[in-house]
Symmetry: C2
Subunit: 297 residues, 2 copies
């Protein structure tokens, strides 16, 4: 028995450290590679299967919530750091599902979630980053963008909503903007939810089969599928031109929902652990306060 | 056996319907009664104890999440209704705990949470309801205010931040504002978390004992206790002058955290069930859409 235990211990020690998803999923800057070369059903760095993925998520939930509380607490003492999770992907790729299954582990009081729709008339009268700046997380918060300023180089490119010249300028504007955020203490985590054309079809069909899901459906969703190659092209450009050191893009294969949820949780955990926020020390006389309260009785 | 089953069935039928907390906890308008006449440790309408309360909360969670999704979905088809939960109470009364334990059952994408601090210079340059209007939930959302416009008749009264005459006008302004909200489809649920002076002392002492909680503590929290009677007085006035048909106040005894969480969950459930939002019907040709998708393959 003793020997067996020792063996087990040794095995444990030999176990590989968990993969760093920040390296594994990061889109390399510069050279453009085709999205079609990434398998949307792959599970890079993943825990082997759905059951293991769900178990791992449950384990991560407590750590994520704990780190969020520390981030929030640190802000009370002047720590300016915060996190911004940017979710982008085609229709049905799982931006909403990520909010429901990943973001829900956090204390909602410390989350600032914004879903960006087609810009309003007021928003269109301002530079494209105007509405983005207004939705940024405050110190200590975790901001989540369901779509983002990237729509302004995605749908704007595919639908030719702006002159070519203006569009070309936007990539640089985005990179400078995100660098500015990083310099201000915002950890920007940009996630592209990568699904296949076939998976989207299956998910749309499933929505059609369930009357409770019809509200999520627009007839235009199908017309948009005709533009799939143009969107993939626009994503390739955006991912490569805007995956910077200050704010890298992560490509998360998302045909498997459990992997998508697991990977985004793990990515957030790695970033929060790297930030390692601390509960601030008391800036008052604890003993004095205690005495005052006890004296009352 | 058969007989026994019948008996059980009959017993079930005889079981009292769950109490309507909207009646039980509602602050009657008009005649002012002293807060000290309400026991902060009471559990009106509650399920008998902590274990039963937690079990009941777990049961309610799914229904709450389901109703929220329907409310959100209905908005996609033009339903303008929404909910606004207003949380008020003394320090440590559990506004943050309510967010963590009650509001967390909802999909965070459909929640709009705002914590109101002392107004900024910009906010002070506007009428007191200005910042409140900017934080209102959109159609389909559940808004949560951690403190609210009531601070403008609470701390403003206790600390004499505005002339007496202006203060007196604010109650009517609040009532008209909330009536306007109700008319626009906002279900306003105002909850006063009622704790005792002694309970606050115990909770402050607990915070002092745990260095991870020191960030929640300010030395002024103790000085504020000297103003306890003035605050109770200000609450009494606000609760009675602003508990209207359009937007009643609910007094939730909050010395027992499990009861507070249970009661607020149950109150929200009652309000959402009364709204009874529906998934909207498809406004496109479902069969046609299905055919188009299947044709692709």
């Amino acid at each position: 028995m003793a020997k067996k235990d020792t063996k087990k211990g040794a095995e444990k020690k030999r176990k590989k450290p968990p993969p760093d998803l920040r390296e594994l999923l990061r889109v390399p800057p510069g050279a453009r590679s085709e999205l079609s070369s990434f398998d949307p059903r792959a599970t890079p760095g993943g825990p082997g299967g759905k059951a293991a993925g769900l178990a791992d998520m449950a384990r991560m939930a407590e750590r994520l919530a704990g780190l969020q509380e520390r981030l929030y607490a640190a802000a009370a003492a002047g720590d300016r750091r915060r996190v911004l999770l940017v979710l982008q992907g085609m229709d049905t790729s799982g931006k909403g599902g990520t909010l429901k299954h990943v973001v829900s582990v956090f204390n909602p009081a410390g989350c600032r979630i914004t879903a960006f729709k087609a810009p309003t008339k007021q928003e269109r009268s301002h530079p494209f980053l105007w509405r983005i700046r207004r939705a940024l997380p405050q110190a200590g918060e975790i901001g989540i963008f369901d779509r983002s300023h990237y729509e302004d180089v995605l749908v704007a490119r595919v639908r030719e909503l702006v002159p070519h010249r203006d569009l070309g300028r936007r990539y640089g504007q985005i990179n400078r903007f995100e660098k500015e955020l990083a310099d201000e203490g915002v950890t920007v985590v940009k996630v592209f939810l990568h699904i296949s054309y076939e998976e989207q079809r299956d998910r749309l069909l499933k929505r059609l089969d369930n009357p409770d899901k019809h509200w999520k459906f627009a007839a235009s969703d199908i017309d948009d599928r005709a533009l799939w190659p143009a969107y993939q092209d626009a994503y390739e450009v955006a991912l490569h031109r805007c995956s910077t050191d200050a704010a890298p893009w992560y490509l998360v294969p998302s045909d498997r929902k459990w992997y998508r949820n697991w990977a985004i949780s793990a990515l957030l955990l790695e970033h929060l652990e790297a930030l390692n926020p601390k509960y601030p020390k008391a800036r008052f006389d604890v003993e004095q306060a205690r005495k005052q309260l006890l004296k009352e009785a």
